[in-house]
């Protein structure tokens, strides 16, 4: 177990440096004159140039200089200093403001996935091959196959604009009600996967020996399914939902962009549109770290939850 955690941790560290290096190399290295790029069309005085050269260590040249500045970027990142966007706001402040909204949205999405996905999955798993099972399988295939850029605008149009059941956009400081529709859209994908996972693992566990034993002891079906089968079937589902929460926390770029929700994804969406390079890099760097850490936590959780899983 300990060895597994250490291995997994090392792997994550490797992935962290790999990804940040790629992000950094692509965004900052190889551009013509970074100081002129920062200044735009305005002329740069010799004093400013000297100050910026020293501040960003631009006097170091070649591969060594590149890694020197990359090390700078990583230390700043680890220290939580993400720099400023082109509009002059601190990226850390932008994130602090956006994250609670994204977290709220992610939780709504996750709740939708758990309540509907797991319940329907259990029912479909028990009545495998029945009408309900087949119907949900086709429906989940549809949901998995339809991209978010189709699902989100169409839901916004049909339920928000046409039927006026939900507010079509959220705007600044959104209420829970305004977040409901985007939350459902966001949760749809996790819902479909959670449903399929639950269904498969319930159906599999129903055929196992301990269920037969429980039935032979004369336990009522309610108890066999509700306690014995469910407890064993939910392990993979919980892991999956953990990964999903990590993904959702990273901000749903499309959903937040379409519904105008001022979360992390929305800021990234806007930064891409307004060509705000530093903001894109800052946000992506943080999101990658969130993603890596949540994957790590889930993998370790998986090994803790299920004693059958042992990695070398």
């Amino acid at each position: 177990m300990f060895r597994y955690i250490v291995r997994r941790l090392l792997q994550m560290v490797l992935a962290f440096f790999g990804t940040t290096l790629i992000v950094y190399a692509l965004m900052f290295a190889g551009q013509g004159d970074p100081i002129q790029a920062l200044a735009g069309e305005r002329p740069v005085s010799a004093a400013q140039r000297a100050y910026l050269t020293e501040k960003f260590h631009l006097d170091q040249h070649g591969v060594g200089g590149f890694f020197y500045r990359y090390a700078d970027y990583v230390t700043n990142l680890l220290r939580g200093d993400l720099g400023e966007s082109l509009t002059g706001r601190k990226i850390g402040d932008i994130l602090a403001q956006a994250w609670p909204v994204t977290a709220k949205l992610a939780l709504i999405g996750l709740l939708v996935a758990i309540i509907i996905g797991v319940t329907c999955g259990v029912v479909a798993g028990i009545r495998r091959g029945g009408v309900f099972d087949n119907a949900t399988l086709v429906l989940t295939l549809l949901v998995l196959g339809v991209p978010t850029i189709v699902l989100a605008p169409l839901a916004q149009y049909l339920l928000g604009v046409k039927l006026s059941l939900f507010p079509p956009t959220a705007g600044a400081d959104p209420s829970l009600y305004a977040l409901l529709l985007p939350g459902i859209v966001l949760g749809c994908l996790s819902l479909a996967t959670a449903l399929r996972l639950t269904r498969t693992s319930v159906a599999e566990n129903l055929r196992s020996d301990y269920v037969r034993t429980a039935k032979a002891k004369g336990l009522p079906t309610r108890r066999v399914v509700g306690v014995h089968v469910l407890r064993n079937s939910l392990i993979p589902v919980i892991t999956f939902l953990g990964v999903e929460l990590g993904n959702l926390m990273g901000g749903a770029i499309i959903t937040e962009g379409v519904f105008n929700i001022p979360g992390v994804g929305f800021n990234l969406f806007r930064a891409i549109r307004t060509e705000d390079g530093p903001l894109v890099v800052g946000l992506v760097s943080v999101l990658v770290v969130v993603y890596l850490v949540s994957n790590l936590v889930v993998d370790v959780l998986y090994a803790v939850l299920d004693p059958r899983i042992r990695y070398e």
Binding site: G18, L141, G145, P153, K162
Partner: protein, 305 residues
């Protein structure tokens, strides 16, 4: 539902003619596929979209780039089945011509993915030991990179508006981030194939590593990866549309469903048709590829029999 169907069909086949000679796995799979309505529906959809991509002129006489503002949001007419969009372009013609970019990106990225996956998976599976260990770590790392975020960073560097360059860039980015699953599939089928007798026979006859790998093992481990690539093709098309929707994938004058969905979304209060039509085309295409791959996999999976 395909699973239930497959099992039923296989059993029916077994009881019907127990005396005839045993069928091959492919023969069995084909029997199942023939009776699977999902297979036929998705196959027909795929063929229609492919035809649209190759000869769009068959489906509409109109030019997707012929836009006149005076026709803005004009309703359906004999000249344009679904009317005109915000810019006064024929909605249906644009949707038809959009198939080309989507399919081109999908097929090319799937092909490039296949090449990378075959090389990496083959080397890792065939040589094992440290080659396998090193390549598997690379797979782990690439698998840990979130696709959309990485694609955003990579594509932001490309400033060119040249359509060929942009298509090439999107293909390259999707392939470089998306080859991992296929490589794992290849690796495991190579590992199981290299223990077969025919490989030992080839070696005994003096075949070198290269010949054994490419002439003997590869043809026998390709089937599962083709299924994975079919499904991946669908998701590559979705990814292309998403990137174009964000404004970092393909750009005008290339006609792409992602671009049209974005502009349709902006003006949906005036008219929803320019949003709904490309959305439907995109969703059906992605679904068709995913369902086709799913159906073939179910038919070939011996565990479900």
């Amino acid at each position: 539902m395909t699973e239930a169907h497959t099992v039923g069909a296989a059993e029916a086949g077994r009881t019907a003619d127990p005396t005839t000679r045993p069928r091959s796995l492919a023969g069995d799979a084909w029997r199942d596929l023939r009776r699977n309505p999902i297979f036929w529906v998705s196959l027909i959809l795929v063929l229609v979209v492919t035809a649209m991509a190759i000869v769009p002129g068959l489906f509409t006489p109109n030019d997707p780039l012929d836009c006149t503002l005076s026709r803005q949001h004009a309703g359906p007419s004999g000249a344009a089945v679904f009317g005109y969009d915000f810019q006064g372009c024929d909605v249906y013609a644009r949707a038809v011509y959009g198939a080309r970019a989507s399919l081109l990106v999908g097929v090319l990225s799937a092909a490039l993915t296949g090449v990378i996956a075959v090389v990496v998976g083959m080397l890792a599976g065939y040589f094992g030991r440290w080659v396998d260990a090193a390549l598997s770590r690379v797979v782990d790392i690439v698998l840990g990179i979130p696709l959309l975020l990485a694609a955003i960073v990579l594509l932001k560097r490309i400033d060119s508006d040249n359509p060929t360059v942009r298509i090439g860039a999107v293909v390259f980015v999707l392939a470089i981030l998306g080859w991992t699953t296929a490589a794992r599939v290849i690796r495991s089928s190579v590992i199981s194939a290299k223990q077969q007798d025919y490989v030992a026979a080839a070696r005994m006859l003096g075949a070198g590593n290269g010949r054994t790998m490419w002439r003997h093992i590869l043809p026998n481990s390709l089937a599962p990866v083709i299924v994975v690539l079919t499904i991946a093709l669908g998701s590559f098309i979705a990814a292309e549309a998403t990137l174009s929707f964000l404004g970092i994938g393909l750009r005008a004058p290339t006609v792409s469903w992602g671009i049209d969905i974005d502009s349709g979304r902006t003006h949906m209060r005036e008219s929803a048709v320019p949003l709904v039509v490309p959305s439907t085309f995109l969703a059906l295409t992605v679904l068709a590829f995913i369902m086709l791959g799913d159906a073939i996999r179910d038919a070939f999976d011996p565990k479900l029999r």
